[in-house]
Symmetry: C2
Subunit: 333 residues, 2 copies
């Protein structure tokens, strides 16, 4: 039990106990999704292939500890673990729903599209995850948590709808790009940190410092995601790359280049983008320095995130959040 740790544990001790707590998050997650119907459970097993880094529950737990000044004797409760399962469920729902393809893509991608069990199963499985996330959150009996979570998922959906509205919009500007990213990705990451702190009884100032940390780190995370989709190693990333281009989503390097490049470069990028030619897109972005510029933007968001941590008392948990923010930039998967 995390609660039995000494008040001032070392970084390796805290890491080990976070790992233990994550295992409990996973048990709560699985128990919540278990259905009376074997066929529903069978479909739910598809969710397993989305399991990844568990970044969001980790942030709930670390923020809960950091907000308590790293005092592991009062930092974490079962409520943190339940909330960890809730946010992971919401995140997985977004991944599952992201697998739904449009007509044109279906035609283009042919047989590879139906890895899961088709669009309809992806939709219903995602809905089952969303519904269970809200149900699990309601089990905590705190209406303000439900309200905060609902406001966050409203924002996530607005970000997704905004992104779809700007599909194939080659004049997307950086401000709108960042608004989309803040909503669709960073808002949930920010909520993980802010609500993790709230569950530890932190005051408003600490809660909002951690929420801002999560927002800034979340933006950096999404920019890095764009970069990996553009030029990552598919075997390392572990998912199909080039999806943004295929789905008509501009990534930050393209946004920056369309805004600043001279006509001939713009023309090359335009042609490559419209042709959905990912090698050509990558090559234009690389040569023009746009990939480097996007990396610098991500690094600056990480710096912002780390500054927000200064509002917290020093602790191993705060140090781990610091490391986690840095790791966003170096991650290859």
């Amino acid at each position: 039990m995390l609660e039995s740790l000494p008040a001032a544990a070392s970084i390796p001790e805290v890491s080990a106990r976070i790992a233990e707590a994550l295992a409990e998050v996973e048990s709560i997650f699985d128990a919540q999704l278990a259905s009376d119907f074997p066929s529903v459970n069978e479909l739910c097993r598809h969710v397993e292939r989305y399991r990844g880094k568990r970044l969001r529950p980790t942030l709930v737990l670390l923020s809960g500890l950091a907000a308590a000044g790293g005092d592991t004797t009062r930092g974490l409760s079962r409520r943190h673990r339940v909330l960890g399962a809730v946010v992971e469920m919401i995140h997985m729902a977004t991944l599952v729903h992201d697998d739904v393809l449009d007509e044109a893509e279906v035609r283009r991608r042919g047989a590879t599209v139906n890895r899961l069990r088709g669009n309809e199963v992806a939709v219903m499985l995602g809905d089952y995850l969303i519904s269970n996330a809200f149900h699990l959150c309601s089990s905590l009996g705190d209406p303000s948590l439900n309200l905060a979570l609902g406001a966050t998922t409203n924002t996530v959906c607005e970000g997704e709808l905004l992104q779809l509205h700007h599909r194939d919009d080659l004049s997307l500007d950086e401000r709108t790009y960042l608004e989309i990213v803040r909503r669709k990705t960073a808002s949930l990451v920010g909520a993980c940190c802010g609500l993790g702190a709230r569950l530890s009884g932190a005051d408003e100032r600490v809660q909002s410092a951690l929420e801002r940390f999560g927002l800034a780190a979340g933006v950096a995370f999404q920019v890095q995601d764009d970069l990996l989709d553009l030029s990552g190693d598919a075997d390392v990333v572990g998912k199909t790359l080039g999806r943004d281009l295929e789905k008509g989503k501009l990534t930050l390097p393209s946004v920056l280049l369309f805004a600043t490049a001279e006509p001939s470069v713009r023309e090359s990028l335009l042609a490559a983008t419209l042709a959905r030619d990912s090698a050509a897109v990558r090559s234009v972005l690389d040569r023009s320095g746009a990939i480097g510029a996007a990396r610098r933007r991500a690094a600056s968001f990480v710096e912002d995130a780390k500054k927000d941590l200064a509002a917290l008392p020093a602790s191993p948990a705060r140090d781990l959040l610091h490391r986690l923010a840095d790791a966003v930039l170096s991650r290859e998967a």
Copy 2:
């Protein structure tokens, strides 16, 4: 205001005030979905084309009144109207997500499929509705309502997943068919009635009588929906018919006939079903009497529903629920 009605209003008076309350439900619905982003509001306008009979909010309101013995001075509150908007939002989300098509259907239906804005928009719009429904419900500040709603939507999703599991399963038996229908359709209808009563402060006995009423009426409603999809008039029903066949969903007449028909009839039904030949399916079901048998099943669920109303004090609201149950069988749209 409904509250200003005399305690013992007549049926036309109650109907008129329900219509007024439904207008308020609609205002709450629209206000909840309003976004800061014009493009999100634009996408939300697609939801309007799904607006229909507003059966579910009507049931919340009527059940609220009926549970209070039809005393319109204490029967309804703003909470009933908010819950009405919540359940309508959930219902619309299921309709929007039902528009998502699978690969094979996309190919078969060609250009007609993209009436909305494609699968991805349908998914995100549905998610936005679900998220807003939970957020709006949370605004009532009653964790037990959130918990009940979450349990209901879990059940709805299980029904949908169960249905997908049995897609193209020509050996689907009546028991499983009814389990699917109870979950995917009737559970939400039952919750509308039970929670409408709970918000009026009704005791457990009245709440559960109304929930059972909604469950039975909901099953009848879905069977009638199957029948309309099979042999309704597309202009009257107002939606594309034959979708169940296309999506591999067995309707009750087919379930009954596969279970009872002699080999030659089974063979004809099998061939017509596999060929997705709706005229031929309809013809076999008609001639064999399976459509009549399904109608009788629906009628018997309506009788069950009406019996549950006997637990309530006599009132115009109870009479209206009675009529509403009867109307399920005669509806053509």
